[in-house]
Symmetry: C2
Subunit: 395 residues, 2 copies
Amino acid sequence: MTTSDTIETGEATDALRRRQADEPTSRVARFGTDRPLVLDAGLTLAPWQIAYETYGTLNAAKSNAVLVCHALTGDQYVASTNPLTGKPGWWELVVGPGKPIDTDRFFVISSNVLGGCMGTTGPASFNPATGKAWGLDLPVITIADMVRAQAALIDHLGIPDLFLVAGGSMGGMQVLQWASAYPDRVFAAAPIATAASHSAQNIAFYEVGRQAVMADPDWREGRYLDFGVQPRKGLAVARMAAHITYMSEVSLHSKFGRRLQHGDTLGYGFDGDFQIESYLRHQGSTFVDRFDANSYLYVSRAMDYFDLAADHGGVLAGAFRGTKTRFCVMSFTTDWAFPTRDSRVIVHALAAAGAKVSFAEIESDRGHDAFLRDEPEMHAILAGFIDAAARARGI
Amino acid sequence: MTTSDTIETGEATDALRRRQADEPTSRVARFGTDRPLVLDAGLTLAPWQIAYETYGTLNAAKSNAVLVCHALTGDQYVASTNPLTGKPGWWELVVGPGKPIDTDRFFVISSNVLGGCMGTTGPASFNPATGKAWGLDLPVITIADMVRAQAALIDHLGIPDLFLVAGGSMGGMQVLQWASAYPDRVFAAAPIATAASHSAQNIAFYEVGRQAVMADPDWREGRYLDFGVQPRKGLAVARMAAHITYMSEVSLHSKFGRRLQHGDTLGYGFDGDFQIESYLRHQGSTFVDRFDANSYLYVSRAMDYFDLAADHGGVLAGAFRGTKTRFCVMSFTTDWAFPTRDSRVIVHALAAAGAKVSFAEIESDRGHDAFLRDEPEMHAILAGFIDAAARARGI
């Protein structure tokens, strides 16, 4: 099968996507009933599995391992071709030979999150207890559960600790959780465009998305995989709503403004006169080809539930007390989903906890999506932070 | 029938709402085939009707008429009980005896917009050509069409010109259109929390809402009224998405934050743990009891199409050249749907056109919704503006 074979839509893609949920193209670590995963929901998960990719080579001292954590709809293909879309890895600007996270220097691990749909156990995975997909029988997953699963993978790989954990958005939440839950296993941490708790506004937007999915009759109370269908329309609407929050008003204005799809003539209809409408519809429809609707419910819910301070009596500094980890926190000026004030809350808590922390607010027009884009200042700061940390660790 | 009888849900409310579309509780002006309404879409509408309420008394000189224009989901019940919801008028803080728009002093007219569902011709209205509801057979409506219909109503009432046209949000768009299209019939104009063109971000959010409605199988390609159903879920999702944009991040945070619906226990499910989720679901479900889904498509589309500068060669000042109307423009600090910069664009154009214009940015936490709420500074400024204008006109 060549890569181009995988760029299909409709039934062919549905079948490919369903296969990836259990038999990913990437590596996968499987844990049997003897190694259950304890979940925040108060249940255990077994058997379970975690799909991952690695880049570069682990050194003899095992001191150069980097974990990259992905965002809501990301995956383990951080620097390699996504087998469903055929597209390059989602952070190839940051991870690769000579890049800020230099795969010539570091051993980079990236895994699909628990609750995801690219090979780590999630609602689209096979549930041996029923012989069907988990669907909503899967317990609700938290960011701490995702991190616990990643820690089990790191153990499985025989890696004692991580030189660096890095990620943006929900990836940044995992970075914070790692640093808080496993302070002795994280030498350096780079939480980017993130927050220590999901805001009411973000919860609201994701709730709209979940309601859109669950309103679609093809959702079938979450059992759509049993019927060979998918809530395509509902999931597309969810993606459209979320996508708006990832872009800045200024980038929407400069990229699309009020430009029309066809010349300068209004259509006097509902077929998408404006370029921004076509763009959003395209975002929605391509998304459903690569993502499972129930995974969208689970992973967005994990973000909503994230509240690191609440786990420490309401005091965020308590999450980092006595930490030796060095932090590099970054935000973007036009990011209104995870605005700079969310990063400042993190920075103040780290400072109060006596942690080593540097902070940069990057000037960018690109809104929340900036962390995925070509942002030289962010890349330079990240590279500098990593280089200094590597020298401090003697790598 | 008492007011409380009207606060029903489900089928009873559906029947009441459908009746209001043709036989509103309010007054209605009907125009026959001899008085067609010319639409921007290049078609004419006949017969057609416009539903309206009036408050106060027209003076002998007919110089004290005020037109209040409503927003996307508003109606003619600006200062009287809404017959569907049983709730007070939507702007009773602004319109009434002794209020900024003083009904002891002025004759106030408020009409349901063209494309609406409260008695003015819209997609839920009876189409005599088919014997069914118009549905999507109704041509797409613009803000200019709405204003043309209001002008026909003013003619019908024998009123030569308006002392004041006022409104917020989409109401403010109508105010701007009135002042531009009928400069000699508008003595004073108060466009509040509005814009001279809908932004790409606003178009994007409304497109999400329309897609949610049209994705609902109960929408039935727009012919749901023929089947006695309604795209309730899709319309609720649309309302939820829009509602978020009407509130500021700070008000969402202070009103709801991350507070849970039931004590301090996470439910580990998708049933709405957070108060913000319950609130949004409530907003969505009450909305579908009072609003027609196709009207939502039409009226939101009218906002998207609004671009007053485009009608004047791209120069907004051209819309107001030589105007004698005096303007009071207001915006709110935390309104991100219609931010202050949109109002500044209007103010600069008016200044460039040589118009008399005053501008105030009101400090408020309430976001776009502020124009509907108890905002003493806004009310004081509006009252002062109106009083000065009334003295200038000798009322």
